[in-house]
C-alpha cells in the first residue's frame, strides 16, 4: 500500500505521555498517525480500520496495582476480541515502555501459544529505582520479527530509558523453559549492551533495570507484536542524541529512525 495511506492508531489512556514524540516520528515518515483516547476506541470499535497499533509510554491510570495492569484489563474487556483479530491479521502492534507493559499484561507478549490468559512475564521494579538514562542495545532477532528487519544487527543502537518498573522477568519455576522457547521461536529482539558490543551481563548501568538475560524487548512468535522498554521515539531526530553537539556535522536522524522506518516499510510492502 501507499505510504501516505498507512493509518497508525496511537491509543492513549489517562497518564499516557509519550504520544507527542511518537506522533512526530510517524508524521516525519509520511504516514497518518491518529492519537485517540482509548475510551473513544472502545465506543467506536474501529480498531480494525488501522494498519498499525501503537501503545505509547506513560503511567496509564497512575500505574496502580501493577504498571499497565488497569489499562490492560480495560482493553481486554472492551476490545479484546478486536485486538486479537488485529494481531492475527499480521498487522504490527507496538508497545513502548508502558505500552510494552500493557502487551505483557494482556498476554499478547510473549504469547507462546497465542494470547495467554494470565501474564507469562512481568516488567517489575528496577534494581536502581527510576532511571532516566541513555543505554545501548543490540538487536538479536534472527528474522522472525519481520517488521523490524530494517533495524541493523551490526550496529549498537542508542535509545534512552525512563522507568521505575521495566525489569523483564520470567516466572522462576519456568524461567529456563520460557527462555528456551524465546530462543526457539526467535522472540528475543533487543538486549542491553556495552559500548564494545558485548552484552551487559546484568551489570548496571548498561543494564539499567536488572532485566533477566539483559532483555530489553521481545516479540510474539509470529513477530508482529513488539514490546520494548527503551524509547526509539526519543532518539528519532539527530539533535536528540546525547552527544550530537560533539559532531562537526550532526546527522539529521538518530538511531530511533531505523525502528519506525522499518515498521512503516514493512506495512508498505506487505499490505
Amino acid at each position: 500500500m501507499r505510504r501516505s495511506d498507512i493509518r497508525v492508531l496511537l491509543m492513549r489512556a489517562p497518564g499516557t505521555n509519550c504520544d507527542a514524540e511518537t506522533v512526530r516520528a510517524f508524521q516525519d515518515l509520511g504516514v497518518q498517525p491518529r492519537l485517540l483516547h482509548s475510551q473513544r476506541v472502545f465506543r467506536e470499535r474501529n480498531l480494525l480500520d488501522y494498519d498499525i497499533l501503537f501503545l505509547p509510554g506513560g503511567f496509564s491510570y497512575g500505574d496502580y496495582v501493577r504498571s499497565g495492569a488497569i489499562w490492560a484489563k480495560e482493553c481486554e474487556y472492551r476490545i479484546g476480541s478486536e485486538m486479537e483479530e488485529f494481531v492475527e491479521s499480521g498487522r504490527p502492534v507496538i508497545g513502548v515502555c508502558n505500552g510494552f507493559q500493557v502487551l505483557v499484561e494482556t498476554g499478547f507478549l510473549p504469547g507462546f501459544e497465542g494470547r495467554a490468559k494470565v501474564p507469562q512475564a512481568a516488567l517489575g521494579n528496577s534494581t536502581h529505582g527510576y532511571q532516566c538514562r541513555w543505554i545501548r542495545l543490540k538487536k538479536v532477532n534472527k528474522g522472525a520479527c519481520a517488521i523490524l528487519s530494517g533495524v541493523p544487527e551490526d550496529e549498537i543502537l542508542r535509545y534512552p530509558v525512563a522507568h521505575g518498573e521495566g525489569r523483564f522477568i520470567l516466572p522462576p519455576d519456568r524461567r529456563d523453559e520460557y527462555l528456551r522457547r524465546l530462543y526457539e521461536n526467535d522472540q528475543l529482539l533487543f538486549r542491553y549492551a556495552r559500548e564494545d558490543g558485548s552484552f551487559a551481563e546484568g551489570n548496571w548501568p548498561e543494564n539499567p533495570n536488572g532485566a533477566f538475560h539483559d532483555i530489553a524487548g521481545i516479540c510474539n512468535p509470529e513477530g508482529n507484536v513488539v514490546g520494548l522498554m527503551p524509547h526509539p521515539e526519543r532518539a528519532y531526530f539527530g539533535y536528540l542524541m546525547p552527544q550530537w553537539s560533539r559532531e562537526e556535522q550532526p546527522s539529521e536522524y538518530g538511531d530511533g529512525r531505523y525502528f519506525f522506518e522499518s515498521v512503516v516499510r514493512y506495512v508498505e510492502r506487505k499490505f
Binding site: 489517562p14 497518564g15 475510551q39 509510554g57 506513560g58 503511567f59 532516566c132 536528540l240 546525547p242
Partner: protein
C-alpha cells in the same frame, strides 16, 4: 459572651459580631477561627463591618484571611518600608517590577499580572514561565509537599492557557550527615527530607509526563530546619489563544479533583514560622497529590483552548475557590455568584467556609460563555474529568456565596483587594567577618579533588536521573551532558515542530554569599543565571525572582531583603533583562533558626537555531581554551573557603557594564561558529570548571595560570578557586582562534591552555601545580552522592 454565634441553619455556619470589638476581642476571634490576620488587618475588617452595620460570617472572615495572607498578597513586597536611605514605596514596584516598565521591551507579552510571565517565542507563539516555592509543606511532609508544589506550578501554566513543556526544580537541604543528636524537636532529618522531596518531585513530574530539565541541589546548615523547594514550569501557547475576555453572564466552571479537608489554611500556615507543633497542627494544611488527575485536566484544557471555548481561566492554589473566584471576577471588573452545594466533595461533611478555602489539589476554574458550556463539559467528560458549573459572573463588584439556598457571604472586592498596607522599618548591619589566613596546600590536585567531591559541586546525577528529562522529545541540551554525564549550564528546548527556534532555561543562586552581603549575593545570583544562559547561546533573556527569606517582621531580615531587591533592579537594568514573574516565601524560621537568605534567579533565553547551541564538554584535541572575565581575590562564601571551615569576607562583586559587554561578544562569537564548548565558572572557580569540561569531553587539558587575567597577583590556590563573577571558559579551534580574538577585543580575556593528552595539568610557567588523570577527577566528582562511573 462570645461574639461568635452558630446560625440556625441546617449546616455548620457562624456569624461574628464585630461591633466595637476591642483589640483583645479581635485577637480572640482570630484565634478561635484559626485566622492569621494581624491586628491592623483585624481592625480594618471591624471598621468595615461597623460601617456596613452587619455581622460578619465565618466564610467572609476566612476569605480576608486567605486573600490578605503573605502567601497570596505578598504584602511585604507591596508594603511601605522605611530605610536609612529613604522610604521604599513597595519593593515590587520600586525594584523588581520597575525594570520592565523602564525597559518596556516589545517582546514581553504579559508580565507580573497573570499566573505566569509570558514572553514572545516567535510571531505566533509565546512562552510562559513560573517558579513557585513550596517550603513549609515540604518541611512537614516532604513527599506530598514537594509533589504538590510541582503540581501547583504546572497549574499556573495551564492558568494562562499554555501547554506545559518542561519543569525545573531547585532544592536546598541541610547537610545529609547532620548529627541526629543536634536535631531539635519537631525538625526532620535532612536525609529524610531529601529522599522525600526528590521522590515527590519525580513522582509528580514523571507521571504527568513533563520533562524536568534544569535545577540545582544545594546543601547548607541553615536549611536544616527550613528545607527550600522551588518548582518551576514552562509552557508554550499560541498568542491568539490567550483569551481573557470574561463578561457578566459567563459561567463559573470548576473542574478536576474533588474538594476535601486537605489543604485547609495552607496559606495561613505558609505565612507563619515553623514550630515544634507544626507537624501536629498543620499536617492537614498539606495537600495530597494526584498527578494523573492533572494530566487529564491538561489534555482537556488544551482542547478547550484550541476550540477557544473559555473566556477566562485560573488555577486553584493558595486560598482555593475563594482566591480563584474573587481574583477572576476582580480582574475583569465583575462580581460573581457561587453556589457551594454544587462543588463535588470528597469528605462527607464540610462547612461552607471549608469548601470555599480548601486547597485540595488538581482543580481549575474556568469562565465559560453559556453557549459553550455543553461542549466544555463534553470535553472534560471525554478526558474522564469531573466538571461542574458552580455559578456565574455578574455585574457589580461583589462576590455572593450561597450554600443550599442560604447566603453565607457577600464580599466587596474593592475592600477585599485593598488590604491595609504594612509599614515597616529596617536595619541591616554588615556582619563582622574577616578573611581567613592559612598556608597554601601542598598538593593542589588533592584540593581540587576534595572540591569536586564537595556536596555543592559533586555530581547530582542521583537526583537528576530520577526525573525524566527526555519525555516529549524536545530536550536538545540535557541536564547531564553526554555519556560521561557532565554538568550542563542549563537546558535548551525545541518547543515547536516546524522551527529550529529554541529556549534556554538556566538558574543562579548563591546562598552563602548572602551571609556576607545580601546585595552582592543577589547580584551574583543574577549574573550566574545570565552567565549560564549565555554559555548555552541564549539571548533576549527574561528573568524570574524567587526569594526565600526569614520573618520580615525582624528588621535585619527585612533589611537584607531590601538590599537584595535593590541589587536585582540595579543589575537587571544594566543587563537589559526584565523580571517577568516572581514569588516569595517569607517566614522561613524554625527551631534551628532562620533560613539562609536565598534568592533564586531563573533565566529564560531565546536561541534562534538550536543546532548552534554549545555544550560544556571539550570537543577536539589541539584546540585552545580561553577564559573570559577577570579573576579577583574574591573567595568570601566560596566552596574553597568552606573546605577549610571558613566563610570569609571577600564576597564576589560585579561590574555589570563590563560583564554584559563581554557576554554580548560571546553570543556573537557563538553565532559566527567560533566556539566549540563553553562553561560558566561558579562554585569552585576555574579549577572545577576546567576539570568538568575535560572529564565530560574525555579529553586532556593543559592550563598555564600565568596567563590568567587577574586583579593583583592572587596566590595560586586563590586564583584557581576564586568565584569572581562574569567569567566563562571557551574552547576555540585553531582555525577560528584569530577571528575569535578579534571579536573579543576590548574585553578581558586570555588564552590559557590547550586541549591535548589525556591528563588534567595546571601549571604556572614551568611549575606543575596539578597533574591528575581524568578518571581520578571524574571519580571524585561522581562518588559522593552516587552516580554511574
Amino acid at each position: 459572651m462570645s461574639r461568635i454565634t452558630k446560625s440556625h441553619l441546617p449546616f455548620d455556619h457562624h456569624t461574628i459580631d464585630l461591633l466595637n470589638a476591642t483589640d483583645d476581642e479581635l485577637v480572640e476571634i482570630a484565634n478561635s477561627l484559626g485566622l492569621g490576620l494581624n491586628l491592623q488587618e483585624l481592625r480594618a475588617v471591624r471598621d468595615r463591618y461597623m460601617l456596613m452595620e452587619r455581622r460578619a460570617t465565618d466564610v467572609e472572615l476566612q476569605t480576608y484571611d486567605q486573600t490578605w495572607s503573605e502567601h497570596c498578597f505578598h504584602k511585604t513586597f507591596k508594603g511601605v518600608i522605611e530605610t536609612p536611605d529613604g522610604v521604599v514605596d513597595g519593593m515590587l514596584k520600586s525594584y523588581l517590577g520597575r525594570v520592565v516598565s523602564e525597559l518596556d521591551p516589545p517582546w514581553c507579552f504579559s508580565v507580573f499580572e497573570d499566573n505566569a510571565g509570558i514572553v514572545d517565542l516567535d510571531d505566533e507563539h509565546a512562552v510562559a514561565i513560573k517558579v513557585e516555592t513550596h517550603n513549609h509543606p515540604s518541611a512537614i511532609e516532604p513527599f506530598g509537599g514537594a509533589a504538590t508544589g510541582l503540581g501547583g506550578v504546572i497549574r499556573d501554566i495551564l492558568g494562562v492557557w499554555a501547554d506545559p513543556i518542561a519543569c525545573t526544580d531547585v532544592l536546598c537541604f541541610g547537610p545529609l550527615d547532620y548529627p541526629y543528636e543536634k536535631l531539635p524537636e519537631g525538625v526532620k532529618h535532612p536525609s529524610y527530607i531529601f529522599s522525600g522531596v526528590v521522590d515527590g518531585i519525580g513522582s509528580y513530574g514523571n507521571s504527568i509526563g513533563i520533562p524536568t530539565v534544569n535545577g540545582a541541589v544545594y546543601f547548607d546548615e541553615d536549611y536544616t530546619g527550613n528545607v527550600v523547594v522551588y518548582a518551576g514550569c514552562i509552557g508554550l501557547l499560541r498568542k491568539d489563544r490567550y483569551i481573557r475576555n470574561v463578561k457578566a453572564g459567563d459561567l463559573v466552571v470548576l473542574t478536576g479533583g474533588r474538594t476535601g479537608l486537605d489543604g485547609i489554611h495552607g496559606v495561613t500556615f505558609a505565612s507563619a514560622e515553623l514550630t515544634e507543633e507544626s507537624e501536629e497542627v498543620s499536617r492537614p494544611a498539606v495537600q495530597i497529590a494526584n498527578p494523573i488527575e492533572e494530566e487529564k485536566i491538561k489534555r482537556a484544557i488544551k482542547q478547550i483552548s484550541e476550540e477557544r471555548l473559555g473566556s477566562g481561566i485560573t488555577d486553584l492554589g493558595g486560598g482555593g475557590l475563594s482566591c480563584a473566584v474573587c481574583e477572576l471576577a476582580d480582574r475583569y471588573g465583575l462580581g460573581a455568584e457561587v453556589k457551594l452545594e454544587r462543588v463535588p466533595l470528597k469528605a462527607v461533611e464540610m462547612a461552607p467556609w471549608e469548601i470555599w478555602i480548601s486547597e485540595s489539589q488538581e482543580r481549575m476554574c474556568l469562565a465559560v460563555p453559556a453557549e459553550n458550556l455543553d461542549r466544555v463539559l463534553q470535553i472534560f467528560e471525554d478526558e474522564q474529568v469531573e466538571a461542574n458549573e458552580i455559578g456565574r459572573f455578574t455585574g457589580g463588584n461583589s462576590v455572593k456565596v450561597e450554600f443550599m439556598g442560604e447566603r453565607v457571604a457577600e464580599l466587596d472586592l474593592e475592600f477585599l483587594f485593598n488590604p491595609p498596607r504594612i509599614q515597616r522599618s529596617i536595619s541591616w548591619k554588615p556582619p563582622v567577618l574577616e578573611e581567613p589566613s592559612f598556608p597554601i596546600p601542598d598538593d593542589l590536585g588533592e584540593t581540587l579533588k576534595r572540591l569536586l567531591a564537595a556536596p555543592n559541586i559533586a555530581s547530582k546525577e542521583v537526583v537528576v536521573r530520577r526525573y525524566d528529562h527526555e519525555v516529549k522529545g524536545g530536550t536538545i541540551v540535557k541536564p547531564l551532558q553526554g555519556w560521561n554525564a557532565g554538568p550542563s549550564d542549563g537546558a535548551v528546548l525545541k518547543p515547536l515542530d516546524h522551527s529550529w527556534r529554541g529556549v534556554t532555561v538556566a538558574c543562579g543562586m548563591n546562598p552563602r554569599y548572602g551571609k556576607i552581603h545580601p546585595y552582592w549575593m543577589a547580584a551574583s545570583a543574577l549574573d550566574e543565571a545570565i552567565r549560564n544562559s549565555v554559555a548555552l547561546g541564549g539571548r533576549r533573556i527574561a528573568i524570574l525572582d524567587n526569594f526565600t527569606w526569614g520573618n520580615p517582621e525582624y528588621e535585619d531580615r527585612l533589611g537584607g531583603l531590601v538590599l537584595a531587591s535593590k541589587a536585582c533592579y540595579d543589575i537587571a537594568r544594566v543587563y537589559g533583562t526584565p523580571f517577568i514573574s516572581g514569588k516569595d516565601s517569607l517566614y522561613n524560621e524554625s527551631p534551628v533558626g532562620p533560613v539562609a537568605p536565598t534568592l533564586l534567579i531563573t533565566a529564560l533565553g531565546i536561541v534562534p537555531d538550536v543546532r548552534k547551541t554549545v555544550t560544556m564538554d571539550l570537543k577536539e584535541k589541539g584546540s585552545s581554551l580561553y577564559i573570559v572575565g577577570e579573576t579577583k581575590r574574591e573567595l568570601g562564601g566560596s566552596e574553597y573557603y568552606r573546605l577549610g571551615g571558613y566563610l570569609g569576607a571577600s564576597v564576589p562583586r560585579l561590574e555589570p557594564e563590563k560583564t554584559i559587554e563581554a557576554y554580548r561578544r560571546l553570543t556573537k562569537a557563538m553565532d559566527e561558529g567560533f566556539i566549540r564548548a563553553c562553561h560558566d565558572l561558579s562554585e569552585g572557580g576555574l579549577g572545577v570548571a576546567a576539570a568538568e569540561m575535560a572529564f565530560t569531553g574525555g579529553l586532556g587539558l593543559e592550563l598555564d595560570i600565568s596567563y590568567l587575567p587577574t586583579e593583583g597577583r592572587p596566590r595560586d590556590d586563590l586564583a584557581l578557586f576564586s568565584e569572581s563573577n562574569g567569567r566563562l571558559l571557551v574552547e576555540v579551534t585553531d582555525r577560528k582562534a584569530s577571528a575569535f580574538e578579534k571579536n573579543m577585543e576590548g574585553t578581558v580575556f586570555a588564552k590559557m591552555g590547550e586541549i591535548l593528552g589525556d591528563r588534567f595539568i595546571v601549571s604556572r610557567g614551568g611549575e606543575v601545580l596539578i597533574d591528575e588523570s581524568l578518571t581520578a577527577l571524574i571519580a571524585a566528582w561522581k562518588t559522593p552522592l552516587g552516580g554511574s562511573r
